[in-house]
């Protein structure tokens, strides 16, 4: 079946602009995660959605970052007023119930 998809695959933006990154999870997966992966670094947790519960936003690095998940499916991660330190690969993962995760290919964000 179809895996997790993310769009765009690459995004180049100017410092100060807003960007939206999209994630389409595997159908039927109730859990959805966003991570940030900087060059040579591990995965930094950003936000976690589980069903209709309030999301766990504990990993968001600043109030410039926000995410929503509509209809329990598609999710959008928004970064406002982008900074150069936001340059990274943003990974989305979904899970049938939490625990093991299925990752998308990521969106590479470059802020110039």
């Amino acid at each position: 079946g179809a895996g997790v998809s993310q769009s765009p695959s690459n995004k180049v933006t100017e410092k100060g602009k807003d960007v939206e990154l999209r994630c389409d999870p595997i159908s039927g997966h109730t859990a959805l995660y966003w991570y940030r992966q900087s060059l040579g670094q591990g995965l930094e947790f950003l936000i976690y959605f589980q069903g209709n519960s309030a999301p766990d936003k504990s990993g968001l690095p600043s109030d410039r970052f926000s995410a929503e998940r509509t209809g329990g499916s598609v999710s959008t991660l928004t970064i406002q007023r982008t900074q150069q330190e936001d340059s990274a690969v943003y990974l989305c993962a979904s899970s049938p119930r939490g625990r093991e995760q299925y990752f998308g290919p990521g969106t590479r964000l470059t802020v110039t």
């Binding site: 591990g42 976690y48 589980q50 625990r99 990752f103």
Partner: protein, 114 residues
């Protein structure tokens, strides 16, 4: 809070040689344990997981891992490495208390020489 350590940043092996990647965790109870692999330009793929039961778990692509409670370790092994195994490997730990948010190690980069 739990933590995960992958002591080796890079590992170089020859094709056909055996492989062991180390993972140590810090957590009071038995955690849920995972190994993921990331090929260049790709997302992460689950190799195997341990929740409970038999401490030796088999995964995809010929990998296995052994949970050793006394050593707080979950090392990944493969008896004979193929060139296609060259990738970044991540160990992840999740508490059994229901947080559903794993902590990932910083990864080990595997280089395979022909």
């Amino acid at each position: 809070a739990q933590s995960v350590t992958q002591p080796d940043i890079h590992i170089t092996v020859s094709e056909g040689a055996s492989l062991e990647l180390r993972c140590n965790y810090s957590y009071g109870a038995t955690p849920y344990l995972f190994w993921y692999v990331q090929s260049p330009g790709q997302g992460l793929q689950l190799l195997l997981k341990y929740f409970s039961g038999d401490t030796l778990v088999q995964g995809i692509k010929g990998f296995e891992a052994e949970f050793k409670r006394s050593q707080s370790s979950f090392n990944l092994r493969k008896p004979s490495v193929h060139w296609s195994d060259a990738a970044e490997y991540f160990c992840a730990v999740e508490t059994s208390g229901g947080s559903y948010i794993p902590t990932f190690g910083r990864g080990t980069s595997l280089i395979v020489h022909p």
